[in-house]
């Protein structure tokens, strides 16, 4: 009788331990919900050699809506450049070669220049360009003060006269010691930045303001960013 009861207790105890142990093993230490067998951005992927789960497009493929066949909009270049046209260069005081003409760059914005575009351009400019080119475009940004080579000011005659396509090209492909910003700034935003640079230039170029205000049309869509900026009080 006595022995029997204790063996029942022992069995119950054993059973309870087994159940508790299974439960602990079953729920306490599993992370299947925490780390699910799917890939989020930046999750390491052992399947590919470079371990990236975010894949680039295979070479030679075009994603839907990414044909980018509007050449002016996506490259800032004219359609049929003259193959014999050569960019002119001069040598500045420091002995560097400076390009002064841009024969294959377009000179008209491929999209309407509105107040919104210039505003958007200001925001993007201050994020991506201002750190070096300075808030006013004088080439005195914080990174330059920390020792980065000094870019030219936007308010020199050469860049005032440069076609808009040139600015687009500099952002897209880089220029000298400045890298390409194509990865960080999408094409529409590049045009917005160019429009803002034009507005910046106009703020220090009285002639441009006088001329373009006269030309601004009534619909609120100005022909040039300088006019968009002045007619709507934007700009600086």
């Amino acid at each position: 009788m006595y022995r029997n009861r204790s063996s029942i207790l022992a069995r119950i105890g054993l059973l309870a331990t087994v159940i508790a142990g299974t439960m602990a093993a079953g729920c306490g230490v599993r992370f299947d919900m925490q780390d699910q067998p799917r890939y989020k951005a930046y999750k390491q992927n052992e399947f590919f050699a470079d371990k990236l789960s975010t894949r680039a497009y295979p070479e030679g493929t075009v994603a839907r809506g990414r044909l980018n066949d509007n050449k002016a909009f996506y490259t800032g270049k004219i359609d049929n450049p003259n193959p014999n046209a050569v960019a002119q260069t001069t040598t500045d005081a420091a002995g560097n070669t400076v390009v002064t003409s841009f024969p294959d760059a377009i000179d008209e914005f491929p999209l309407p220049v509105t107040k919104e575009l210039v505003e958007r351009g200001r925001e993007r400019y201050n994020i991506y360009c201002g750190v070096c080119h300075g808030p006013g475009g004088n080439g005195d940004g914080m990174i330059v003060r920390r020792g980065f080579p000094r870019p030219p000011t936007y308010h020199e005659d050469r860049l005032r006269k440069a076609p808009v396509g040139h600015f687009f090209d500099v952002i897209t492909n880089g220029w000298g010691r400045m890298s390409s910003y194509a990865y960080q700034v999408q094409p529409a935003d590049r045009w917005a930045i160019v429009a803002y640079i034009r507005a910046l230039q106009a703020t220090q170029d009285p002639d441009a303001i006088l001329n373009s205000t006269a030309k601004a049309d009534q619909s609120g869509t100005a022909k040039t960013p300088a006019a968009a900026a002045t007619t709507h009080g934007g700009g600086k």
């Binding site: 919900m33 925490q34 780390d35 699910q36 799917r38 989020k40 951005a41 930046y42 390491q44 470079d50 371990k51 990236l52 201050n126 994020i127 991506y128 750190v131 914080m142 990174i143 920390r146 020792g147 980065f148 080579p149 010691r177 890298s179 910003y181 990865y183 960080q184």
Partner: protein
């Protein structure tokens, strides 16, 4: 038949009932505290990174905007991490020989991404999206703290469900004008309650019921 229990057992029974309640309460309280502790939530923990990148230098001292490096924060769920090319925009010229930057140059040379260690990591049964928060006036510093003062990033908040809900129940207590989202110096005290409520209306933030519905975050 002899009594098994002495009369004093009545007291023991009463005391033990109270003791069980107290013990259970204490245990539960201890559990909630442990569950919220930085040991389990990873709060305030710094990670050893492959490059000693400092937000204090780049954001605090040099004034680089968050979006220069975390480009996709306005458009996608993930804030995005800078590619090696982004670092090289500056470091191809600046501190180009610094030994601290050797891993960056190696990554650029060999075309191998830098393997940053995650600081913030929600469980994968929850859905989080940066773009909506940024678009509705929730500033980086509300969730991530003073990143511009952090030589190495740590998690400022628990990121537990109760933390998300505290804001989702009453977002007007935390939101700011959209123009200030990236401003690390912005003070919550600089706008008053009426302004906050009007911001909530302007940004068309949905009802508390929808914001706290389980399927908003567990989908």
């Amino acid at each position: 038949m002899a009594q098994i229990f002495n009369k004093s057992a009545n007291n023991i029974a009463k005391i033990s009932m109270v003791a069980v309640a107290v013990l259970a309460g204490t245990a539960f309280y201890a559990y909630t505290q442990i569950a919220r502790s930085s040991y389990l939530t990873g709060r305030y923990m710094e990670r050893q990174q492959p490059v000693q990148f400092s937000h204090k230098h780049h954001v605090g001292d040099d004034g680089i905007d968050c979006r220069y490096c975390h480009q996709t924060v306005e458009t996608t769920a993930s804030a995005g991490m800078p590619s090696t090319q982004t670092c090289m925009n500056c470091h191809s010229q600046l501190w180009a020989d610094s030994p601290y930057l050797e891993p960056v140059r190696a990554s650029f040379r060999d075309n191998k991404p830098i393997e940053w260690r995650r600081v913030h990591d929600l469980p994968e049964y929850t859905y989080f999206n940066h773009s909506i928060h940024v678009a509705k006036g929730v500033g980086c510093s509300t969730c991530h703290g003073q990143i511009d003062n952090m030589p190495s990033v740590y998690q400022e908040n628990t990121l537990q469900m109760e933390w998300c809900l505290e804001c989702h129940r009453a977002p007007e207590k935390f939101i700011r004008p959209k123009s200030e989202v990236y401003n690390m110096q912005w003070e919550p005290g600089s706008i008053d309650d009426t302004k906050r409520r009007s911001l909530k209306d302007d940004y068309k933030i949905r009802s508390k019921e929808m914001m706290t519905s389980c399927s908003t975050c567990h989908r």
